[in-house]
Homo-oligomer: 352 residues x 2
């Protein structure tokens, strides 16, 4: 899922996202809550209509974003007090308000309010944080069940007149396998149509991330979506898909593009380097995207070096194309029953 | 002609420019000379191949850009010494080097090196500046004739094996009708396949611009392209086309877009205004561009207020679409033999 923080995947118009085959976008509740505001989006018919995006959208609960504010937040049993990164104004988010915001935004998939446990943390801290997330998950579900028909598009005539959003639960438990198992089991007991693995990519070593993903997946139902939040590199998303993860989101393809870091079938390229100034070849000779089909590395390097906005546009289109191609290859491999072999099908780059 | 200063129309990929019906782009020799450098572009096959733009390109001579540097330049008989706005490095441009740069860049239409006379200026100053431009025009033509086959694409197999660039002359003469007439006649005597009216849009009142354009056009052959440099608003381009101008370039549609100023069939809109925050209507209900067909004013306002790059992209696409639609309507009207009436055909906005 490409990330469209403020109802826009930075630098790419929606019609190009469609052409790239994007099936679902992620929006950040915290950011949208501040700008343009939930009430504004609700009045305009919800996020799909607001941003003119007819395909699926997932919003996060705001929990992780608030967690990232560090100094600007304070967590209590009831919820989180935080200060806006824009103007320093004070806000309070609790399970109910996170649900209210996400119902108002009207994404297809919304997330239970959770506390993302910091890393490192001792077992007592991980456990109490996990317990808090479980209580918040119950409250999230309760509020959602009572208010799910308030979604902006509820009154619209659809083929499924009772269509509502899907609320996913989030498994926490830090890097502790026993607590991950407990968190998974108790979250499943509350009952959600899909489950996310949260609390990773918070500074832990990659090998540990993989271990925790693997052990947590064992405890999540394989016939429901399993969503790993906030990963990863192309190598990682292939690896996690191989472990059984169905959904992932990451700012990496779009953010790296803005810094001139491009993913190709032949490895990573930092397009700002002078070595590309006279390179008339395509960015990635094995890529069929509109950037690789039309422009040279020399031109992309010039745009980046000259700080042209087109650099961000073209770089982002290519990186998204590479990620989406990668996941298409993964799905194709799975369909062909070769899941175990698919890393080698996707690209030949040795893994780090 | 949309302006693509550094081999990119800021914020718009080339395929969208094609879709918008852009027939010709303008590149700035001064900027391209500094970045990525003429030799680099030449080695990569010229500007068309470098920027992956198969349609026409015009480059200016660098004269006006250097003129705009003010404190950073010094003009002598031989040429202009100027300092780079990027790093302060010193450069010298003369007729021959302006030709050499433009032949190396390889645009379809290139411009003679000229001095853009400042405004206001007294008659003596205008005359001596005009004489200098005439001497430079002769030198430009001489150098071009001797070197025109050095264009990067000269050796390529084309349907016209002797195809070269077209070098246009530039008429100066300040705001003095007699000197404009003399400049036109003596430039025509040197002989070019097209003529530009330079030295306008330099701070003079709009009524004076129009007067000078009108009187200069009288002295330029109607069966050759007549190019008015650096104008203008939608109202102005329609007006000047009505007077007989065939070509115009201006940064206004693209630069205004970056500042949230949008041209519509119902007048100008400053999309940053709070009044558009809840406006679910299209930017311009009479516009068929991909922006007006898909997005609301509320969304465009949100993108602008949130400083999203997509704001610049969508705003620029719309403004270019509006300009190109305007010129298409002008051409259509001319074809229908209603040239005299076409301002009212294009849009109903009262002229300023």
């Amino acid at each position: 899922m490409p990330v469209g923080t403020l109802a826009s995947v930075k630098g790419v118009p929606q019609d190009i996202l469609e052409e790239l085959g994007v099936q679902i976008l992620l929006g950040n509740t915290y950011h949208l809550y501040l700008r343009p505001g939930v009430e504004q989006v609700r009045k305009l018919g919800g996020l799909h209509r607001f941003m003119a995006w007819p395909r699926a959208i997932l919003t996060d609960s705001g929990g992780f974003q608030v967690f990232s504010l560090n100094e600007l937040r304070k967590v209590t049993e009831e919820g989180v007090t935080f200060r806006s990164h824009l103007d320093g104004s004070s806000h309070f988010f609790r399970s109910e308000s996170a649900m209210e915001a996400q119902i108002g935004l009207g994404a297809d998939i919304i997330m239970a309010f959770d506390e993302c446990t910091e890393y490192p943390a001792d077992r007592a801290r991980i456990q109490s944080s996990m317990e808090l997330t479980l209580r918040w998950a119950e409250r999230s579900k309760k509020h959602f069940e009572e208010h799910k028909h308030e979604v902006p598009w509820a009154t619209e005539v659809t083929t499924q007149p009772d269509a509502t959003q899907a609320l996913f639960g989030i498994v926490q438990g830090g890097m502790d396998h026993t607590l991950r198992k407990e968190s998974a089991e108790r979250t499943i007991k509350i009952g959600f149509p899909g489950y996310a693995i949260g609390g990773l990519s918070v500074g832990e070593p990659r090998a540990l991330t993989r271990e925790v993903v693997e052990s947590t997946l064992e405890h999540l139902p394989a016939d429901q979506p399993r969503y790993l939040m906030g990963v990863g590199t192309p190598e990682e998303i292939v690896e996690y898909a191989g472990l059984g993860v169905d959904m992932m989101d990451c700012v990496l393809p779009t953010r790296a593009a803005r810094h001139g870091l491009l993913f190709t079938s032949e490895g990573k390229i930092s397009i700002k380097q002078a070595r590309y100034a006279g390179d008339s070849g395509p960015l990635d000779p094995n890529c069929g995207c509109r950037v690789c089909q039309r422009y040279s590395r020399a031109y992309l390097r010039h745009l980046y070096a000259s700080n042209e906005v087109l650099a961000q546009i073209l770089n982002t289109v290519h990186n998204l194309s590479f990620y989406l191609d990668t996941m298409r290859a993964v799905r194709h491999s799975i369909k062909l029953g070769e899941a175990a072999r698919f890393p080698s099908v996707v690209w030949s780059q040795p893994k780090p």
